[in-house]
C-alpha cells in the first residue's frame, strides 16, 4: 500500500495540523505534521498513508515542461 496521491489544498487548519485536499474529485482530510512550509488553499501536496509528505512546487513542474518543449523543438 505504498501509494502517493497528489491533491489540491482546499482548507487548512494549522492549529490541529490537518488540511482538506481534493484529488480526482474526492476530498480527504490529511495530516500536515510533516510539512514545514506554509500552506494556503490552492497549494498542492503529495499524500502518503494519510499524511502529506511534501509540497509540490508547480514552478518546477513548469520548468520541466518548458525543457521538453526546447528538446522537442531542437529538431
Amino acid at each position: 500500500m505504498c501509494l502517493g496521491i497528489p491533491g489540491k489544498v482546499v482548507e487548512v487548519n494549522q492549529a490541529e495540523s490537518w488540511a482538506i485536499v481534493e484529488s480526482f474529485g474526492v476530498r480527504k482530510k490529511v495530516g500536515i505534521a510533516l510539512i514545514d512550509e506554509d500552506l494556503v488553499p490552492g497549494d498542492y501536496l503529495m499524500v502518503h498513508a494519510g499524511y502529506a509528505i511534501g509540497k509540490i512546487n508547480l514552478d518546477d513542474a513548469q520548468i520541466s515542461l518548458e525543457l521538453w518543449e526546447e528538446i522537442l523543438h531542437a529538431g
Binding site: M1, L34, N57, L72
Partner: protein, 371 residues
Amino acid sequence: MLDKLRDPELGKRILSKLAPLAQEVAGRLGRPAILMEVCGTHTMAIARSGLRSLLAGSLELRSGPGCPVCVTGQGDIDRIIALAASRPDLVIGTFGDMLRVSGTNSSLEQERARGAQVEIFYSPAEAVTFAAGHPQNEVVFLGVGFETTAPAVALSVAVARSRGLKNYSVLSVHKLVPPVLENLLSDPELKIDGLLLPGHVCTVTGRKAFDFVANKFNVPAVVAGFEPIDLMEAIYLLLKQIVSGRAETVNGYPRLVREDGNNKAKEIMKEYFKPVNVYWRGFGMVPQSGLALQESLSFYDAAVRFPVEVSESVPPKGCACGDVLKGKIASSDCPLFARRCTPLQPVGPCMVSTEGACAAYYQYEWSKAEV
C-alpha cells in the same frame, strides 16, 4: 499544470525522441538497455502507461524490491499471521494488501474467516482513532512500508502517547531503500544499466541519500516522478547518461524532491525508530535495513508486548517472487505466472499486492496470446 504531465499528445511527441534514443543505446550495448524501478507506484505507473510495449526491443523495464508487502520476509508474514491466529482478542490493523499474502500455512484473510479480528485502514491515523474509540480493544497496527510510511506510523504512536492511549501498539516491519539497493547493486549477477529512483521515498530521504548509486557502483540513477511525462523524462535522462558513459544521481522530480529531503519526516523517524537487521524476500538478511521502535517506546511495540514464535517459514512452493524482486527474471518468466498464479488465486505476494510486479503486469500488460 499537473494535467499537462498526463497529456497523451505531449507523450507521443516525447516518445518520438525517446524511441530513437533507446534504439541508439541498444545498438551500442548490443542488447536492450535494462532499467530498474524500485517503487510499487512506479510498477503500476509504468504498467498503466504502456511504455514497456512501446519501447520493447530496445529497452527493458524491470521491477526491483519496491513493493513493501512483497519484500516482507516469509518469517515476518508468518509471525503476523500467528499473532492474529493466537490472539483473537487483539484487533490487527493493516493496509489492505497484506490480507491475502500467503504465509507458510495460512493468511490473515483465512484467520479472519476463523474468527481473528482484522481491520483494514488506509492510514495509521485511522488505526489510532479506532483505538481511541474502542478502549475495550487492544489494537495492533502492522507497520509495513518504506521511508514514505514510517513517519506516518511514528506520528500514530506520537498521537497515542499524547492522548494517553493504552490500547495501541505497532508491529514494525518497516524497511529502508538505500541499504537494499546497496545489497542489490553489490550482486555480481545483476545486470542493470540504470536505476529509476523512487520519487516519494526520495521526497523523505532527499536526493543525496542515493548519491552512492552513481558514486560507488557507477550506475546511472534518476529520481523519477509518477506521471507518464515524468517517467519518460527519467528514462530519457538515464539513456542520455548511458550514451555519454556518465553515472550521476540526478533529480528528475524537483517539484517534490529536495537535496536533503523532508527534515521533519527524517527527524520523527529517527526519534521513534532505530535501524535493525531484517530479512527481505529474495535477498535474505540485509544489515541495518529495517526499522524497529526505539526501546524507550516498548509500551507501543507489539513485538515486545505480544511476542510470537513460529517454526520454520517456507515461501510458497514454486513461487519465483524472490527472483522477480531481485530483477533476475520478469514476472512472465515464472512458470506459475497466469497459470497457477493469478490475482484471483495468487500464490506469492508479487501477485497479491496491486503494486506487485506480477499483479501489475497481469492487470495492465499481459495478454492471453502470450501463454
